[in-house]
């Protein structure tokens, strides 16, 4: 039986969803997704401040997903060597004139713990403390090549959200959890 698209599109509408992407996330793909998003934001005619925040959250969260996700598909991109492609789902919506971004991906138990403690910490900081913390981290991570910018992306998310970042971890199997993140954009 084919997917009931009528039902599916009604479900998206009911949940104020504007854009959905599900599947592999790879670097060249991000540029085209970003391009589409920029055009969409222009079409929606949102104030610069809001569209900039949405764009910034989009880029950082996709990057976080690529970094933390446990579900990967191995595939060759162009003529290059096969690469691991992180899998995930990304949703952009507008509720009461405010954008929200929701993402879902599989993470290892270890990464789930890291994410939980980092998000809880960031949620406890106010706007000015987040700015200071960001500033310290920009300097600090310059000396830490292993971090791949991890952590910095989450701070950017915290700075661009109106309310605390909401997350949920649901057990997938003994080693993995499904991680959903809900972000209210400022």
């Amino acid at each position: 039986m084919a997917l009931n698209l009528k039902q599916y599109s009604e479900m998206l509408k009911e949940n104020s969803v504007q854009v959905v992407y599900s599947g592999p996330i790879w670097s060249n793909g991000i540029a085209s997704m970003a391009d589409m998003l920029i055009k969409r934001l222009e079409y929606d005619d949102m104030p610069f401040r809001a569209s900039q925040a949405v764009f910034s959250v989009f880029v950082e969260q996709i990057n976080n997903m690529m970094m933390y996700t446990a579900e990967k598909e191995v595939r060759a991109e162009g003529n290059s060597d096969p690469k691991e492609m992180p899998m995930g789902i990304f949703v952009l919506g507008i509720k009461e004139n405010n954008y929200f971004i929701q993402t879902g991906n599989l993470v290892s138990n270890a990464n789930a713990e890291i994410l939980k403690s980092r998000i809880d910490h960031l949620n406890s900081l106010d706007k000015e403390s987040l700015r200071k913390y960001h500033k310290t981290k920009v300097r600090e991570e310059d000396n830490n090549k292993d971090s791949k910018g991890a952590g910095l992306g989450l701070i950017v998310l915290a700075r661009q959200t109106r309310s605390p970042m909401k997350y949920e971890f649901v057990r997938h199997d003994d080693e993995h959890q499904y991680f959903s993140l809900y972000l209210d954009i400022r």
Partner: protein, 127 residues
């Protein structure tokens, strides 16, 4: 021959102009491509040589409208390198060009300015 390099803007990489004859560099656009590390490495390699010369006065116009968190680090690294060389005889001017609504860029400029001692750092608000 003075060094010159120009790169076209793409969705995820900025326009770049390095014009050694005019002691000038410019960045404009968005930076969030995975390749930004290599992009900045090229600039840093050039700066390593250029900053050793008696250039007198060098101007860098930064008109990027967005950069991701990893590029933030690369930009600061580059500015800190410039700051190390800036002096009375090697004047370095950085114009941080942005529209007022771009709060992320304005705040980032203010935060960077606090890190720099010798560069003349101007936040230039345009319409």
């Amino acid at each position: 021959m003075p060094f010159r390099m120009e790169k076209e803007r793409t969705v995820a990489t900025p326009y770049l102009l390095i014009d050694e004859e005019k002691n000038y560099m410019k960045l404009e656009g968005r930076c969030f491509d995975e390749s930004m590390g290599l992009f900045f490495k090229e600039i840093l390699d050039w700066l390593d040589i250029y900053l050793e010369t008696d250039f007198g006065e060098f101007t860098f116009d930064n008109a990027t409208e967005y950069f991701n968190s990893s590029t933030t680090k690369l930009l600061l690294k580059m500015l800190l390198k410039m700051d190390k060389y800036a002096s009375d005889t090697k004047k370095i001017i950085v114009n941080w060009i942005t529209i007022e609504e771009n709060e992320i860029m304005v705040e980032c400029g203010e935060d960077f300015m606090e890190e720099l001692e010798n560069i003349e750092f101007n936040i230039v608000i345009v319409d």
